[in-house]
């Protein structure tokens, strides 16, 4: 999941750079990049927070 989040964020960042450099910074493309980045950041945080709970519960069961 960490790698998925990282990949989405990297794609979002490249999309944004592309929209600024090639597409003259049109807001529609920038906001599309923002959407991709938002998904990546939410994925990252969900993974970050919930992985600890899972591991705690597992160790508690043992």
């Amino acid at each position: 999941m960490e790698k998925v989040a990282s990949t989405i964020i990297i794609i979002g960042t490249f999309l944004w750079l592309f929209s600024v450099i090639v597409l003259e910074g049109r807001w529609q493309w920038q906001m599309f990049s923002a959407l991709v980045l938002t998904i990546g950041i939410f994925t990252a945080h969900f993974w970050e927070e919930l992985r600890d709970t899972d591991s705690t519960e597992e160790s508690g069961d043992e």
């Binding site: 990297i10 980045l37 938002t38």
Partner: protein, 662 residues
């Protein structure tokens, strides 16, 4: 070697723990005694004039000193009387004195609007005659022209203010209490920053014991440094201002402007060295990564981004040679940075949500295993209130506030006010209470909410810009209730103290403000900070308040979708890339804070951070340095405040003598 990933919550709590050197207690006592009440009132009212005066002279009120002065006096009296001071008493003293000193500032807006209504800016933007009478009397009224607040002309603004104050107290106390019960009692959130304040009161209570601790020594060092700095920076200009028409400033207040010096190689860049080196103390206290990244980003903004990219591609197109920091800042803001800043703020809200929503899920999941979480039972003798009573008080306070605003701006759609009051405010407050409970700071803020509302409401009158809106946030205040709990102070004693001191402060605040306004016009040469900043503030206020009046306003034109998107998306990209490379999330807050900012305003903070990080920590050790920090900062604030108080006393006496014709 791969870097280990640290969650944002863990990262921030690790920092909070550096300051948290001892746990709280769980036996509750009243902190309100007659000697505490009189002590707070005495010191608070003594320092209030100095605090107001300082804020106009240097931009810093120095109000932080007053509670510490009260506590020093209190603890010294206790020692001389062979008795001890309890931590509950000292925490109450800190709170009440802070309220007393700050009470003068509550009338600050009266003085500002009395100035604003007669500015050329307000006239040229055609809003001077449209400022409502419940904000300030007419520009040609006797109350404004003779600089007197104690005049029938001011009756309506003061009455409206008092009604707001009363209703606000009802809402804030009840709203904060309900949220505290939800987050601290029911969900058992840790409130990691609360122990810092609690530790301050504990530390000072120790000084009344038989043995003198290190804290007294550190406080004294800070105080002496504050006295010396305060004399040079505030004392000399204030005292010479009494004797000369043009005060002498050893260091120019508030900054030394190098903007024109750098325009040859960095056009559109700004660099104004802020001369308030008291900011170094903040550098000591603030996390080093934030201060450092903020400065580096600000330097890159002003020396690379502005001149080499934004200016070259004519995005910053209004700049012309010879402008000072204020001019360049205004034009750069209109051309790009206001829009970019809006997007940047939206990204902060989104990042805050991304960090806090998964925490909700995590807590819900772990709640099943935690035995105590989920119980709303209160500890014995804490002085709690019935939840239903607090809910009722909040409804009364908020209902009355909405009615008052509706009376002030009758044509503004009521549905927006009700939506703010009963939907947005509870939601916003709850999110903030949660982030304070977990991270000790606010993460959620929707920027430019008022502007968006005004656009959506299609309301075009100017008066709405002067009216308060019921979009409130009680989440921040929940931390104070947690500090009360940690110091073992009963809630009832704190509420009683607040309610008892309030009427006294309402009256004394207005009298003191009236007298300070009588000394000299604000702004004028006597008040250099106000003289420097208020004209530019007036221009900005005119730009904002007319931004929605017609489609051609400068401010509306300044807000461009592509630049707002750039601010939003680039900030998200920075945050995301920091996460990908497992770098501290603190860097993000530093970068976002520094981008587009003036690096000259950060030099003092940076110096403090470097000295702290590379000398003090090595000299004293990490733990001891973080123990010293708050006490040293308090001592410094105390020293500066004492100098401010002394000089304002001399200035007041001098003016009283000179003004009299016989």
């Amino acid at each position: 070697m791969a870097r280990e990933r640290v969650t944002q919550a863990d990262e921030w709590q690790a920092w909070a723990q550096r300051y948290d050197i001892e746990g709280g207690i769980r036996t509750f006592e009243s902190g309100l005694t007659v000697k505490v009440f009189i002590g707070a009132l005495f010191v608070g009212l003594l320092m209030m004039p100095g605090s107001i005066y300082l804020s106009y002279v240097s931009g810093e009120s120095g109000a932080g000193a007053a509670p510490w002065v009260a506590v020093i006096l209190f603890t010294e009296l206790a020692r001389r009387s062979f008795t001890t001071a309890r931590r509950q008493e000292l925490y109450m003293l800190l709170g009440l004195t802070g309220a007393a000193v700050g009470s003068g500032m509550q009338y600050r807006s009266f003085i500002w609007y009395a100035y604003f209504i007669n500015t050329p800016q307000a006239a040229s933007y055609e809003i001077a005659d449209k400022i409502p009478a419940w904000i300030v009397p007419a520009g040609d009224s006797v109350g404004v022209l003779t600089r007197t607040l104690i005049h029938p002309d001011w009756f309506l603004p003061i009455a409206i203010y008092l009604a707001q104050k009363l209703l606000g107290t009802l809402r804030v106390v009840s709203g904060q209490y309900i949220l505290f019960r939800l987050t601290a009692d029911l969900e058992r959130l840790p409130y990691p920053m609360a122990p810092i304040t609690a530790q301050g009161a504990t530390a000072l209570a120790e000084t009344t014991g038989k043995e003198e601790t290190w804290r007294w020594r550190v406080f004294s060092i800070g105080s002496m440094a504050g006295l010396i700095w305060g004399f040079l920076y505030i004392g000399v200009p204030s005292l010479t201002g009494v004797m000369m028409s043009q005060p002498i400033q050893i260091l120019k207040i508030p900054w030394i402007d190098f903007t024109q010096s750098i325009e040859g190689f960095a056009p559109t860049g700004v660099f104004a060295l802020r001369t308030d080196f008291g900011q170094m103390l903040f550098g000591f206290v603030l996390p080093f990564p934030i201060v450092m990244t903020e400065f580096i980003t600000a330097m890159a903004s002003q020396f690379i981004l502005n001149p080499q990219i934004l200016y070259r591609y004519e995005i910053l197109h209004q700049w012309k040679p010879g402008l000072d920091v204020r001019g360049v800042g205004l034009f750069n803001g209109l051309d790009f940075w206001i829009s970019y800043g809006m997007g940047k703020s939206f990204s902060l809200a989104l990042v805050g949500m991304a960090a806090s929503i998964p925490m909700l899920f995590k807590l819900r999941k772990s709640k099943k295993t935690a035995g105590e979480r989920g119980s709303i039972a209160t500890p014995p003798n804490r002085g709690d209130f019935p939840i239903w009573l607090m809910g009722l008080l909040w409804l009364v306070g908020m209902g009355g506030f909405v009615w008052l605003i509706h009376w002030m701006v009758p044509n503004f759609p009521l549905s927006f006010l009700l939506g703010y009051a009963f939907l947005y405010t509870p939601l916003n407050s709850y999110i903030t209470a949660r982030t304070f409970g977990v991270l000790g700071r606010d993460l959620f803020e929707i920027p430019y909410l008022h502007e968006i509302t005004f656009i959506l409401s299609r309301y075009e009158e100017i008066d709405i810009w002067f009216a308060p809106l019921p979009d409130e946030d009680y989440g921040r205040g929940t931390q104070g209730w947690r500090v009360l709990e940690l110091t073992g102070t009963t809630f009832t004693s704190n509420l009683a103290g607040t309610l008892l001191i309030m009427p006294i402060l309402i009256v004394s605040g207005i009298v003191v403000m009236h007298f300070i306004w009588k000394i000299a016009p604000i702004p004028s040469a006597q008040y250099p900070f106000a003289q420097m900043m208020w004209p530019i503030n007036a221009t900005n206020e005119c730009l904002w308040k007319t931004s929605l009046r017609d489609g051609n306003s400068q401010m509306l034109q300044a807000i461009r979708g592509d630049y707002v998107s750039a601010g939003f998306t680039s900030s998200l990209a920075i945050y995301g890339m920091l996460w990908v490379f497992k770098l501290p999330s603190m860097w993000f807050y530093g970068i976002v804070g520094g981008i587009g900012a003036d690096p000259g305003s950060m030099i003092a903070r940076l110096l403090g951070a470097i000295i702290g990080r590379f000398y003090m920590i090595k000299r004293f050790g990490m733990k001891r340095w973080y123990m010293f920090n708050p006490v040293l900062a308090a001592g410094f604030a105390c020293g500066v405040g004492l100098i401010g108080m002394g000089t304002v006393a001399i200035a007041l006496v001098s003016k009283a003598v000179i003004v009299k014709p016989f």
